[in-house]
């Protein structure tokens, strides 16, 4: 119901930017941005700064936005660029010991495959049912977010750098000072974990 009212507001002629982008909405968006920026930069102050800059930049042009959805996309696009710049200027080294710990994880996927590296009989991956519909469900995004949060720190960071900031392999490797093969292993693990998590907590329960 609340969402319906919001929709109406968004399209009502007399509603100007002021009520569209009220404090509560901005605070919510700011929290989401901050969470994302902090993970990427692992520096709370720097994260605050880029979020602030992105918000100020976006709101300058707030009037040209048709609605909240457009503003949010825009604000995240700006944030993405700010984070990319910050990452390029500030090389960070991944904590080597935590990399090593995550290295042990190979065992985690060992039972996915049999000793010859094939899916065990009767345990082939099961198709996910109607994924497109899932994208429209609020609960799905909460599950997805929980799955992202459950990724080991470095995997989450590398995965989002690749998928969200859209850095290519070379950029990620030079920013984090890791090798391409390290990167591939980390991305592989992140994807395997996300797949498993979504399978267990979303697609399986519905299938």
């Amino acid at each position: 119901m609340a969402e319906y009212m919001e929709e109406r507001n968004e399209h009502s002629i007399n509603t100007k930017t002021k009520s569209l982008f009220d404090d509560e909405f901005l605070e919510q968006i700011r929290r989401q941005m901050l969470k994302f920026a902090t993970l990427q930069l692992s520096d709370a102050h720097l994260a605050e700064d880029v979020v602030q800059e992105a918000l100020v930049g976006a709101l300058k042009n707030a009037r040209s936005f048709g609605g909240r959805s457009a503003l949010k996309s825009w604000v995240f696009a700006i944030l993405k660029n700010k984070i990319a710049d910050a990452l390029r200027h500030k090389h960070r080294v991944i904590d080597a010991s935590s990399l090593l710990r995550e290295e042990d994880e190979e065992q985690d996927f060992a039972d996915l495959f049999n000793e010859r590296g094939f899916w065990p009989r009767g345990e082939h991956p099961t198709a996910w049912s109607s994924p497109d519909e899932s994208l429209r469900e609020g609960q799905f995004w909460r599950v997805f977010e929980a799955c992202l949060e459950n990724l080991p720190g470095n995997q989450a960071r590398v995965f989002m750098m690749r998928e969200f900031i859209e850095f290519d392999s070379d950029e990620i490797c030079s920013t984090l000072e890791i090798s391409v093969s390290n990167l591939n292993v980390m991305l592989y693990r992140a994807r395997m974990r996300l797949r498993e998590c979504l399978g267990n907590h979303w697609f399986m329960e519905r299938g």
Binding site: E3, E6, Q28, R31, Q32, F36, R68, S69, K72, S73, F76, K80, F109, L112, F113, R116, G117, F118, W119, H124, P125, T126, A127, W128, P131, L135, R136, E137, G138, F140, W141, R142, F144, E145, F159, R162, E163, F164, D168, S169, L183, N184, L187, Y188, R191, M192, L194, R195, L198, G199
Partner: protein, 65 residues
């Protein structure tokens, strides 16, 4: 011949780089008889789509906390 573990690694790598001709051929052959890896491959595509949708805010009102 590739096993399923190697295929899952290749399918992940394919999202970062272009596979070599040899890799593509072995992949195609494996996928032609292995339904488990075909399903896995679809799941990887879906996962990619989901992550794209997630941050682009296309699902405004749905991925809010």
């Amino acid at each position: 011949m590739l096993n399923c573990r190697e295929v899952t690694r290749l399918l992940s790598a394919a999202q970062e780089r272009e596979l070599t001709l040899k890799e593509r051929l072995s992949l195609t052959i494996h996928l032609s008889w292995c339904s488990g890896c075909r399903t896995f491959s679809k799941q990887m595509q879906t996962l990619h789509k989901i992550t794209r949708a997630y941050v682009k805010g296309k699902n405004e009102g749905q991925n809010n906390e």
